[in-house]
């Protein structure tokens, strides 16, 4: 590459496009399927006890591109891996499409691709197909990434938002709010200094450890956009159950709480990228918790509440003073407030 920036010629399909793929993309995602550079990746069907596929896609437009604890690339891999993991699926392969802005520095691109390679290795998944396009300056704020993924679900796993049952323990894998606060601070808009890192991580191995302890887990969700409250509310409504959550039991880092206090944010609506909420049959909760706490991504896992027969479709928060309030889903963007 003569220049150190992406140009429109990189997207034209000619020699420069080919060089970009060979020099930047292929080495990062190096695997037999990708190296074939066919128009489609061909994955052999797995025989045996996995007769369903999970299939998902997401686009990633986060700004800034780099933030403490991660970057847009890591997010793109983990986000899609996690969507598969929440169905109880083992990832079989990912695709990654890139829309690059003219003027994006090749150094930044490389950094993002290496990060994706590392995240994929952590998740033990490969990127088997991809695409790049280049758009003119101003049209993509650096770059956008879309990933899609397929995974195989074992026959004995039945997980879904509509599967939660009264009596189930509600378990969260760790402190909430880290990702959204880390990104907000990295944007620098409110001049806040502090050490908050995104929790961006692939959760598939944690989920497999949990399923090993209890194949009958009812529901799994990762509380991304909309946060914990939105996910709990969605499951309460999909499953036709109620929920009671102990406010004092929900883990949160003190720095995250500090930022929420300063900006007037409600931590229950903050996005997480490396956490999950699990609905576990009551009798199995202790076993599942133990398995989670042994895993690096579940060390702070804890029970935060339980599913009830009453108050169908509602999530009740028990407050530290012994009262209660409703936890509603997020409606609209949270703006910092002074009142």
């Amino acid at each position: 590459m003569k220049d150190n920036k992406i140009t429109l010629s990189h997207g034209a399909g000619g020699r420069l496009s080919h060089e970009l793929i060979e020099e930047y993309f292929v080495p990062c995602f190096d695997n037999a399927l990708l190296r074939a550079l066919d128009d489609s990746a061909v994955i052999p069907m797995q025989s045996g006890q996995a007769n369903r596929l999970a299939f998902t896609t997401d686009s990633y437009v986060v700004k800034p591109l780099f933030f403490p604890g991660g970057d847009i690339g890591r997010l793109a891999i983990c986000g899609t891996v996690n969507d598969l993991a929440m169905a109880g699926a083992k990832p079989l392969g990912l695709t990654a499409s890139f829309i690059l802005e003219e003027g994006l520095s090749l150094e930044d691109l490389k950094r993002i691709l290496v990060s994706m390679k590392e995240a994929a290795a952590e998740a033990e998944v490969q990127v088997v197909a991809g695409d790049t396009k280049v758009v003119e300056h101003g049209a993509a704020e650096g770059l956008y990434i879309t990933t899609a993924g397929i995974g195989a679900i074992s026959d004995n796993v039945v997980i879904g938002s509509a599967q939660a049952k009264p009596g189930d323990a509600v378990v969260v894998s760790g402190p909430i709010g880290d990702h959204e606060i880390a990104v907000l601070m990295a944007r620098g808009e409110f001049s806040l200094q502090g050490e908050v890192e995104s929790d961006c991580a692939p959760l598939n191995s944690l989920v497999q450890a949990m399923l090993k302890a209890c194949p009958a887990i009812h529901s799994l969700r990762d509380p991304t956009r909309g946060g914990l409250a939105t996910v709990l509310w969605e499951i309460a409504n999909a499953s036709g159950v109620g929920m009671v959550v102990e406010e004092g039991a929900v883990p949160m880092r003190k720095e995250v709480k500090g930022v929420c206090d300063l900006l007037g944010f409600d931590p229950y609506y903050l996005a997480n990228e490396g956490k999950l909420v699990a609905f576990v049959p009551e009798k199995e909760a202790a076993k599942v918790l133990k398995a989670m706490q042994k895993h690096p991504l579940g060390k702070e896992a804890t029970v935060i509440g339980k599913v009830t027969e009453e108050n169908k479709g509602k999530v009740l928060l028990h407050t530290p003073i012994g009262g209660h309030r409703l936890l509603e889903p997020l409606s609209g963007e949270q703006f910092p407030r002074i009142c």
Binding site: S191, G194, V196, K254, G258, D261, L262, I338, C339
Partner: protein, 77 residues
């Protein structure tokens, strides 16, 4: 109508500005309304301004009322 957050002054810079720590997160805060504050003081912060010194001793005094209730109910305080 007003979020006021307690923070601890960890540094005072020039022009009546201070660095205040809120549970491990720090922001610049103006001391224009409370210039007598010192490093180590706790203060109530609203819209980036220190509004008043926060007196931890006073916070303990508020608990006197509760101590009376506890005594009356025979519980340890």
């Amino acid at each position: 109508m007003c979020l006021g957050i307690p923070g601890k002054i960890v540094a005072i810079t020039e022009n009546q500005l201070a660095v205040v720590d809120f549970n491990g997160v720090r922001r610049e805060v103006s001391l224009m309304l409370c210039p007598e504050l010192e490093v180590g003081d706790y203060c109530l912060v609203h819209v980036g301004f220190a509004m008043q010194r926060l007196d931890p001793a006073e916070a303990q005094e508020t608990m006197e009322l509760l101590d009376q209730f506890l005594e009356a109910s025979g519980e340890p305080s």
